[in-house]
């Protein structure tokens, strides 16, 4: 399930709800991304996530479908914020459930790696020295590329 939100959400409440009633789930992996209050020496006051309405929902759905195609997931949740957020606020939550732990853990890592490089979001940081657009990191591309070789298979 995919949710794209312009308002804050409560990750612990989402995790509490996730697959609570199921007794066939052996492992649940989650990843929560939050706004940090600093990057290196620079203080971050806020982060604004711009996105591409329409394409974002489409890409998120594709990424979820790809995870479900690759791993036997019993459930899968992706919540992604857009708009302005302050330090400590959740940006993205990924949760995966499977009978076995390897599927849940790998799918969770896959989802966040692909979200970072394939979903049309852009981060604007408000710092003590003004606002700046976050640049894409090569390490994110490398992390996403780990999963790329399996796409053709």
């Amino acid at each position: 399930m995919i949710r794209l939100l312009g308002e804050p959400f409560d990750p612990a409440a989402e995790i509490a709800r996730f697959t609570t009633d199921r007794q066939d789930v052996g492992g649940i992996a989650t990843f929560l991304g939050r706004v940090r209050d600093r990057v290196g020496e620079l203080r971050i006051r806020a982060l604004t996530l711009e996105h591409y309405p329409g394409m974002t929902e489409r890409k998120l759905a594709e990424i979820e479908a790809e995870a479900r195609r690759r791993w036997p997931l019993q459930d899968c949740l992706v919540i992604h914020r857009y708009g302005r957020m302050e330090p400590g606020e959740p940006i993205v939550l990924v949760a995966t459930a499977s009978a076995h732990r390897a599927a849940a853990l790998e799918a969770c890592a896959f989802l966040i790696d692909w979200l970072k490089t394939k979903a049309p979001f852009w981060k604007l940081e408000e710092t003590d020295r003004g606002a700046r657009w976050v640049e894409a990191r090569e390490s994110d591309d490398a992390a996403a590329a780990r999963w790329e070789k399996e796409t053709a298979g």
Partner: protein, 83 residues
């Protein structure tokens, strides 16, 4: 054809979207970029730098040689940084 600009490319064009009718010689994304460089000089400045300007045609990632025939919406943006 609707054009959309995101993140700092939006700041370069000064607008989030516009409706355009490119001339018939604009067949692919590269042609469109070339035509837009005249329309938005500050956007044109960064078009040459490799990997800086990404494109989507009808909400699918596109390359310079992606054809524009029948395209309704073309978007330009920097590499994504979500998650």
């Amino acid at each position: 054809m609707k054009l959309r600009y995101f993140a700092w490319l939006r700041q370069r064009t000064g607008l989030a979207e516009e409706e355009v009718e490119p001339p018939p010689e604009v067949h692919c994304v590269a042609d469109l970029k070339h035509w837009l460089a005249d329309r938005h000089p500050r956007f044109g400045e960064v078009l040459a730098a490799p990997g800086v300007v990404r494109c989507a045609v009808d909400q699918e990632y596109a390359e310079d040689d992606t054809p524009l025939e029948g395209a309704r919406e073309v978007a330009f943006f920097p590499p994504v940084t979500g998650g």
